[in-house]
């Protein structure tokens, strides 16, 4: 009985810890939210991570603030980022911005580039269609 307990108690504890972790981390494991998920929260004070694709033709860089739209399949959100973005930042690329809602605009102070899993030596070979609308 004691030998048996020696294995069962740690195993049971491990299972409980794993369940607690999975339940609590499931939201933490989501690194960012999409524009569709965040438009409803406009006006909230929370610090958020917004991820999507930089809409081509919307990037305006002036007075240390870069403005652009970030879109998913349904919605585009206007972002104003204070500072300079990473070198890979460009129209059509994936980004994750951190900041808060400022009215109907998203005010960001941190920007990360999320490049995709395509590798091409010639930019013409990139499959734009599959990435124009990112579901994940």
């Amino acid at each position: 009985m004691k030998r048996y307990a020696k294995f069962v108690i740690p195993a049971a504890l491990l299972v409980v810890v794993l369940i607690v972790l999975m339940v609590n981390l499931s939201s933490a494991l989501v690194y960012y939210n999409t524009p569709s998920e965040l438009v409803d929260r406009a006006g909230s004070e929370d610090r958020l991570r917004l991820g999507g694709r930089v809409v081509p033709g919307t990037v305006v860089d002036a007075d240390g603030v870069v403005q652009f739209d970030v879109e998913d399949c349904d919605v585009a959100v206007s972002v104003a980022h204070a500072g300079s973005p990473p070198q890979l930042f460009q129209e059509g690329i994936g980004v994750v911005v951190e900041g808060t809602w400022d009215g109907s605009k998203f005010s960001s102070d941190t920007i990360l580039v999320k490049h995709d899993e395509q590798y091409r030596t010639d930019s013409d070979d990139y499959d734009e269609a599959t990435h124009a609308c990112q579901e994940s």
Partner: protein, 244 residues
């Protein structure tokens, strides 16, 4: 047990020298990625490092299971050797990934699911190596390590599929996905050559490390067998509380 003739072979090192030379050349001449430019060359060392870490931990699991079944310390030494190499290549994958992340993402590190789980995997296998040092009873050491060696492997699919199961900053897999390989043929060939070179390095290191582990075990046993009254009278055992 006087002389050991079974030394680790030399052929993996010859093969490694050749394949590494080919891999480095290929990685240097292949065209850069259109978006990432020259940064994309880190692909040819980052991906094989991660792949080798996964493979090494998979081998540790198999060897640990074999030990638990056969109770032969030779299996334990193979499990140990593979775990040690796996830790090195996990560290390498993390380090190279950070060097890649800074110019592309804009940060060295961030706590997304892929990076966090990889860091946990790294520390769990460091824990495996630490666990092996908790006793010099070879059988007890082998048993404890084997149990952890089998359990810890669940992290490998967790790390690999983290980018599919959860929303991460790290991009999803390029090679293993339903739509096929999302990469130019020239880059794919270069990556495969690099994977082959890294795998050869693993084989070479395994032979060497298993040989070393066997010698370490023999030394431990030899030291213990001379630990009789003669040596015992002359040498005092060190103890933690300083009493001798």
């Amino acid at each position: 047990m006087t002389t050991r003739t079974s030394r680790s072979p030399r052929w993996p090192w010859v093969l490694l020298a050749i394949s590494a030379a080919v891999a480095v050349t290929a990685a240097m001449v292949v065209g850069p990625d259109a978006v990432q430019g020259q940064l994309s060359r880190i692909l040819y060392v980052h991906v094989p490092s991660a792949w080798l870490a996964f493979t090494a931990f998979g081998v540790t699991m198999l060897m640990s299971a074999m030990y638990l079944w056969k109770r032969d310390l030779a299996w334990d030494r193979r499990a140990h050797a593979s775990a040690e190499i796996g830790v090195v290549f996990t560290g390498l994958a993390i380090g190279l990934g950070m060097i890649w992340a800074k110019p592309t993402w804009g940060v060295w590190w961030t706590w997304d699911a892929r990076l966090t789980l990889t860091a946990i995997m790294f520390f769990v296998y460091l824990g495996y190596l630490a666990l092996r040092r908790t006793t010099d009873d070879l059988e007890a050491r082998a048993k404890r390590a084997a149990i952890l060696g089998v359990l810890a492997v669940v992290q490998v699919p967790l790390v690999h599929f983290s980018v599919v199961w959860w929303r991460t900053l790290h991009q999803p897999p390029t090679l293993i996905k339903p739509e096929g390989i999302d990469m130019d043929a020239s880059m794919f060939v270069t990556l495969m050559v690099s994977l082959a070179a890294f795998t050869t390095a693993y084989v070479a290191m395994m032979y060497k490390r298993v040989e070393l582990a066997r010698l370490e075990d023999e030394l431990l046993v030899a030291e213990r067998s001379t630990d009789g009254p003669v040596a015992g009278a002359a040498v005092s055992t060190p103890s933690i509380d300083g009493g001798a």
